[in-house]
């Protein structure tokens, strides 16, 4: 038997003579080599494969909150249910990623490298890595990759604090578009969660009137609505709250495996707001 990977399983040529491909008019040509296959053009990401759905985030009076579920979808298949999409960078920044999971893992490594070089090697004990720095860095990475026509297929939200301790929240995506707002959501979240969040924080400046308890409740509601209506979402999510305590010190609360509670799967006719009749 021939053990060459391209000819595997065929009768060996020494014993039986070369196979005549003309018989079936098919198969890998005899002159195929490893080098000729390696000459295949290098490909760039043209579409995401394993994907994570929405990330939602908001400012509140003394910090920021961010949430993302733990599902990794392969098209419409629920392929993974243990993907962590919120990552801590430095001491007071969180980065939430949706979109392609392999590109997300690449970004994780880039950010890890950034943290090592900035916080370990180049830090003289003075200033340190903040959310604004992380966001600027990421936006350059994303824009450069799209300019090479080789994008990182993600939408990213960065949350943390400015130097003066006011909350920071900003977005960047696969083409390098950035913006800031008091409430930000990616993917389906921008359709389903943003209306709920903006209901609580109608104008950007209004986040100062909202406390942690209020915003946590709305984020909880948003994650439930997303679970109901986004087919690629899950009922288990991670949540990060970064806030200032009474002494003005940063508290980083990372909560994993939060369940979507108070679900209602009652028959739609009997739920207020669904039936045709007035209730």
């Amino acid at each position: 038997m021939n053990h060459d990977p391209f000819q595997w399983g065929r009768p060996s040529n020494e014993t039986y003579g070369a196979y005549n491909h003309q018989i079936a008019n098919a198969g890998v040509p005899d002159n195929t080599t490893h080098a000729s296959l390696d000459a295949f053009p290098k490909m760039h990401t043209q579409q995401p494969i394993i994907t994570g759905t929405s990330v939602i985030a908001s400012k509140f009076n003394n910090g920021i909150i961010m949430a993302a579920d733990n599902v990794g979808s392969y098209g419409s298949l629920l392929r993974f249910s243990n993907i962590e999409r919120l990552i801590k960078v430095g001491s007071e920044t969180v980065v939430g990623l949706s979109g392609d999971v392999s590109d997300m893992q690449q970004i994780e490594r880039i950010l890890d490298e950034l943290e090592t070089s900035e916080e370990v090697y180049d830090n003289d004990g003075g200033d340190y890595l903040r959310a604004a720095n992380v966001h600027e860095y990421l936006s350059r990475v994303m824009y450069n990759r799209r300019s090479k026509m080789n994008p990182l297929w993600n939408s990213i939200i960065v949350g943390g604090f400015y130097r003066d301790r006011t909350p920071f929240l900003k977005y960047v995506d696969l083409v390098g578009v950035t913006y800031s707002s008091s409430t930000i959501a990616t993917g389906f979240g921008s359709h389903l969660a943003i209306p709920l969040l903006r209901n609580l924080i109608p104008e950007d400046k209004d986040y100062v009137k909202v406390d942690e308890q209020q915003i946590t409740k709305v984020v909880e509601d948003s994650m439930r609505v997303l679970f109901y209506r986004d087919a690629r979402s899950g009922d288990k999510y991670s949540q990060v709250i970064i806030k200032l305590d009474e002494e003005g010190k940063v508290v980083f609360e990372f909560t994993k495996e939060v369940k979507v509670e108070n679900q209602s799967w009652r028959f739609a006719k009997d739920i207020r707001g669904y039936g045709s009749s007035q209730q």
């Binding site: 824009y143 799209r146 026509m149 994008p151 578009v177 913006y179 359709h191 943003i194």
Partner: protein, 242 residues
């Protein structure tokens, strides 16, 4: 395409396979407007940023004071706009290092921006660029560009999503196009004159509130940067948020 059975889907039958390709551009809406006066110039833009039918942010400013009494905006694909303005700022910094902190005249800035844009002729910055400031004589100046760097100095120019709604209004109200002296039976044109800053601000506000009514990519807020010999100042007016 000829088919045996008439089908509603005939327009979806392709003779060549559909190709999917990464699109490096997006349209982030917004509109901008520059008007030059006798001893001032203004650059105005709404503060809404969109993607499709979603409003990404209600306050994402896109008019920037880039230094040397020049204000600049690049409206269209937001990431390219930011990149272009960053690049100009960086080069202005180097110009200062190389020229003992000397002032960059607006006509030189204008020519330089042409080179920045044309330098990416075959992968363009997808933006309408405007700059405003004062020329060497202290007169208001507005320069406008197409995405690949073709530019000219003008009295006024609108760019971005609602440019086609605002520009004809400006032709009429700033350059007095189609305006005639009453009683001359449309024979004698209304003579040109410089508008005052107050008149210009009113025009800008009217232009943006009207564009907000008719264009979904325009709204939320209006930010105006005003350049005079005393420097740059900013004014903000709310627009409808629907």
């Amino acid at each position: 395409m000829q088919t045996t059975v008439a089908s509603e889907y005939s327009n979806e039958i392709h003779s060549v396979p559909i190709e999917h390709r990464f699109n490096p551009y997006s349209d982030n809406g917004g509109t901008v407007l520059g008007i030059a006066g006798e001893d001032f110039a203004v650059l105005a833009g709404d503060t809404r940023q969109v993607e499709g039918y979603s409003i990404q942010s209600r306050y994402e400013p896109k008019i920037f004071d880039v230094g040397d009494n020049i204000v600049m905006t690049a409206n269209g694909f937001a990431a390219d706009g930011v990149a272009l303005i960053d690049k100009f700022r960086q080069q202005l910094k180097w110009y200062k290092f190389d020229n003992f902190g000397g002032k960059l005249e607006i006509k030189s800035a204008a020519r330089y921006i042409q080179h920045l844009l044309y330098g990416k002729r075959f992968f363009p910055y997808y933006v309408s660029t405007l700059i405003a400031g004062l020329d060497e004589e202290g007169k208001g100046a507005v320069y406008s560009y197409d995405p690949v760097g073709s530019y000219e100095r003008e009295q006024c120019r609108a760019g971005g999503a609602a440019a086609s709604l605002i520009m004809p209004f400006l032709d009429n109200q700033v350059n007095f196009k189609n305006q005639f002296i009453p009683g001359t039976d449309g024979k004698e044109k209304k003579p040109l004159k410089y508008l005052t800053l107050e008149e210009v601000i009113e025009l800008v506000r009217d232009a943006f509130s009207s564009a907000t009514e008719r264009h979904i990519y325009v709204g939320d807020g209006l930010e105006i940067k005003i350049v005079t010999k005393d420097g740059v100042r900013t004014e903000y007016y709310p627009l409808k948020r629907d």
